[in-house]
Amino acid sequence: MGYYEKVYSRVDYRVWLITVPLLAQLLLPAARNVKSAFEQCGATDMGANVQNIEGRTTAILKTRAEISKECADKALSSIGFTQEDLAKVIPTTFRPELGQTLIAQGSRVFIMAGILMMIVIFVAFRSIIPSIAVIQAAVFDVIIGLGALSLMGFEMSLAGFAALLMLIGYSVDTDIVLTSNVLKDRGKPLAEQVNRAFTTGITMTCTAIAAMTAVLIVSTFVQIETIHQIALVLVAGLSADLMTTWLVNVAILDWYLKRTPVHSGKSRFNFRIFRS
């Protein structure tokens, strides 16, 4: 559970995100100047990166210390900011209460979503163990996605939550392909069924990983944090899905099939609209 603690504990701070337009010619040294200027205001844990916004070089600084507007203005004018420049400084504050609410709401939503998904999958397959196998894959993918966030030092944000839920959707897809292939044609050798499902599943996962890698690379260069976070969670989680589906889930199904007798499985969701 170390991942959770690490990821979550970061939200418990007040975070100041300060977007400062820099004097164009100075670039990175200027960002360092801004950073050291803010340190006079008590911001010792400040992180800074530089980004180009519409031709204006902009520093985005992050700190957990509280900085008053007066001190910020003073610090910035001491390194040559004019009144006009100061007007373009944008402070964003996240207070701890928000982080706590987010965690409380997020965990509740996750548990509810998990239960609802379990019900749908159980209704579809009508057997407990294959359903649990599907859910385990989703749960481990999410944990690995969280781990990736933690490893890269990201704060858990709403974008992160969204990404984890997208991940669940993709993860469940491959597992359903596997499970339905294996359970529908029982009697044929397992290896044949798994191979068939694997061809489909690997194409699905690879297209998703490829698309998200493209997004990840672009967002690394242009520093769009929300999108970057979503892509990171999905690339890590989908890679993990290759293992949780084709190693773990297959093993569970193999064990399950060996200990239960064959019975006929009929499709539950067969609607006319899909047939001619």
């Binding site: 977007t19 916004i53 519409e54 204006r56 007007a87 944008i90 964003t92 504050t93 207070r95 209460e97 928000l98 609410t101 709401q105 997020g106 509740r108 939503v109 509810m112 979503a113 609802l116 998904m117 019900i119 749908v120 999958i121 709403l158 974008a159 939550f161 969204a162 990404a163 839920l165 997208m166 669940i168 959707g169 897809d173 392909v177 339905s180 068939r196 061809t199 489909t200 194409t203 699905m204 690879c206 297209t207 998703a208 490829a210 698309a211 998200m212 493209a214 997004v215 672009v218 967002s219 769009i224 929300t226 999108i227 979503i230 969701f269 067969n270 609607f271 609209i273 899909f274 047939r275």
Partner: protein, 551 residues
């Protein structure tokens, strides 16, 4: 290719064309992530969940007066947080928004322009019937007054049996109204209430004498004679206190009112549409402007039925904060202090009586209950950032689609089939955007993430359909001989997988709808996968079925 067997493809084509038309004509609405603006999230103090709806209403009302392009006040599902989104990043305007948020609502009971009780002097009396009582269509609300309230109420109601008492929430006591002479004429010529119970007041005299908000009527035309003719036409009904003033007199009057501490000016049009001299005076006197336009509040004042008048969103009610008018009963008019009184009336239905009583309870508690609001998040989004962002999203989309196309081409080695998969996904994006345009729902960053999620799922499902169909095709030869035709069963199984997957995603997203920030994401994803399930997937399956031996 008969129409009846290909209706899925026809439906998809028709919907794509419709969506394109919608996007082209109606356009898309972008949230503050892209269009620029400030988002604030606030937490209510203890007991806030009981009055959150009132607070949302009050904030909406107050913020509408700021004249910003768009303002949104949203309630979080936990009833503890409110999110405000305004379309500005200008520090002064944001500061004004914050001032407005931090104000508390003030409840006032007035009798013909004289204060009876306000704020903490008046409260719901829960010792009687728990505060309110409904009997059929009759409602009663019990109130108690304290402090200076009882004596003042006794004095102002003395000898006024049958007169009216007005209930205000947030009456603009430091403001005056500036309107053109035409509107003034209209207001001075119309009765405030048409029924006999509350006669003797025109709309204009109500605003000036009962709500105590001065009205300045200006005439933009240079010739004063025309004003006389106008007043003549109106039957010289104009109120003495608000004669139509020439521009010079208007400026003088504005200066006098501003000197009296009335630093807020209420307008019907944007300050920029006023005569230049007046707009100049407003900025010279440093007045705060509030704009309540006739487009938003087309009705000056309705004449609602007896006992109600609470739900109307007329201009006068909104501007003065008038919530209700009640007749004073004889028992209160002897000049003795009034400690307890009953607000009562009858509504047209039992439900309406209940909601009226409930509204009174909320008004009586909202101003007086010390619900502290603290702003826990303030996030400005620069419009430039949004435009920049669009460029990068485009770049990402092109790269991602290219890679997906490459993988599919390598896997199937059938160019036609790969093209069908990509075209179907494109049409799905168009359908989602068309739907968004139709519902004029706001596209923010979260909504775009939702579209990505839906499209990703869409590509996955098309791969499933293709694989199952190709398998059926391969089986065809041997199994057709045995009377087992493959493709129908194959597609049936594909749709079992898709159905399960879509239902899982929909149910996983469902609880997310309760978090305001993720509602856009969840909603877009749900709509996206449902459009996929009902429109694009069946069409794609039909295409595969038709071309399975030719692809």
């Amino acid at each position: 290719m008969s129409l009846s067997s290909n209706w899925r493809i026809v439906l998809l084509t028709v919907l794509v064309v419709l969506s394109l038309l919608l996007i082209a004509t109606k356009g898309l609405t972008y949230g503050i992530d892209f269009a620029g603006g400030t988002e604030m999230k606030m937490k209510l103090g203890e007991g806030g969940d009981a009055v959150i709806d009132t607070i949302v209403d009050i904030l909406k009302n107050r913020l509408n007066g700021l004249g910003l392009k768009s303002t949104q006040v949203l309630k979080e599902a936990d009833n503890q947080h409110i999110v405000v989104k305004v379309s500005t990043v200008v520090p002064e305007e944001v500061a004004r928004v914050k001032d407005i948020i931090n104000q508390q609502a003030i409840f006032e009971q007035m009798v013909e322009g004289e204060l009876c009780a306000s704020g903490s002097e008046i409260a719901l009396d829960i010792s009687q019937q728990g505060g309110s009582f409904i009997s059929g269509e009759q409602w009663q609300v019990y109130v108690k007054t304290n402090g200076d309230g009882p004596e003042r109420c006794g004095n102002v109601m003395k000898g006024k049996a049958g007169h009216m008492t007005d209930i205000f929430l947030d009456r603009p006591n430091k403001a005056f109204i500036l309107v053109d002479s035409d509107t003034c004429g209209e207001m001075s010529n119309a009765d405030f209430r048409s029924h006999g119970e509350d006669s003797g007041y025109t709309q204009l005299s109500f605003i000036e004498q009962r709500a105590l908000v001065p009205v300045v009527c200006y005439s933009a035309s240079a010739a004063p004679e025309s004003n006389d003719t106008l007043l003549g036409e109106l039957g010289l009904q104009a109120n003495k206190t608000s004669e139509t003033l020439s521009l010079a007199d208007t400026i003088e009057e504005m200066g006098r009112l501003s000197g009296e501490g009335k630093k807020t000016i209420i307008l019907m049009v944007n300050a920029t549409s006023l005569p230049q001299e007046l707009a100049g005076t407003i900025s010279e006197l440093n007045l705060t402007t509030k704009v309540y336009s006739r487009e938003v509040y087309p009705v000056l004042h309705e004449n609602p039925g007896e006992g109600s008048g609470d739900n109307s969103v007329s201009w006068i009610d909104t501007v003065t904060g008038l919530k209700s008018t009640l007749r004073i009963s004889e028992g209160l008019t002897h000049g003795t202090p009034v400690y307890n009184s009953v607000f009562e009336g009858s509504s047209s239905s039992v439900d309406e009586a209940k909601s009226t009583a409930q509204e009174f309870r909320i008004w009586l508690t909202s101003g007086n209950l010390p619900v502290k609001i603290s702003i826990v998040l303030e996030r400005p989004n620069l419009p430039e950032l949004g435009q920049q962002f669009f460029k990068y999203v485009g770049l990402m989309a092109v790269l991602a689609i290219g890679l997906v196309a490459a993988i599919i081409s390598i896997r199937y080695r059938r160019p036609k089939l790969s093209m069908f998969i990509l075209i179907t996904s494109f049409s799905e994006i168009i359908l989602i955007l068309g739907f968004a345009s139709m519902m004029s729902w706001e596209l923010d960053m979260a909504a775009f993430a939702g579209i990505i999620a839906a499209i990703g799922t869409g590509v996955d499902h098309q791969i499933i359909i293709t694989d199952e169909a190709l398998r059926g095709e391969r089986k065809k030869k041997e199994e057709r001989e045995q009377g087992l035709w493959g493709i129908q069963q194959a597609l049936g199984r594909a749709f079992f997988i898709i159905m399960t997957s879509v239902l899982t995603v929909v149910f996983a997203m469902f609880p997310l709808l309760s978090i305001t920030d993720l509602r856009g994401f969840a909603f877009t994803t749900i709509v996206g996968v449902l459009i996929g399930l009902l429109v694009t997937r069946p069409a794609f399956a039909r295409i595969v079925e038709l071309y399975s031996d030719r692809l």
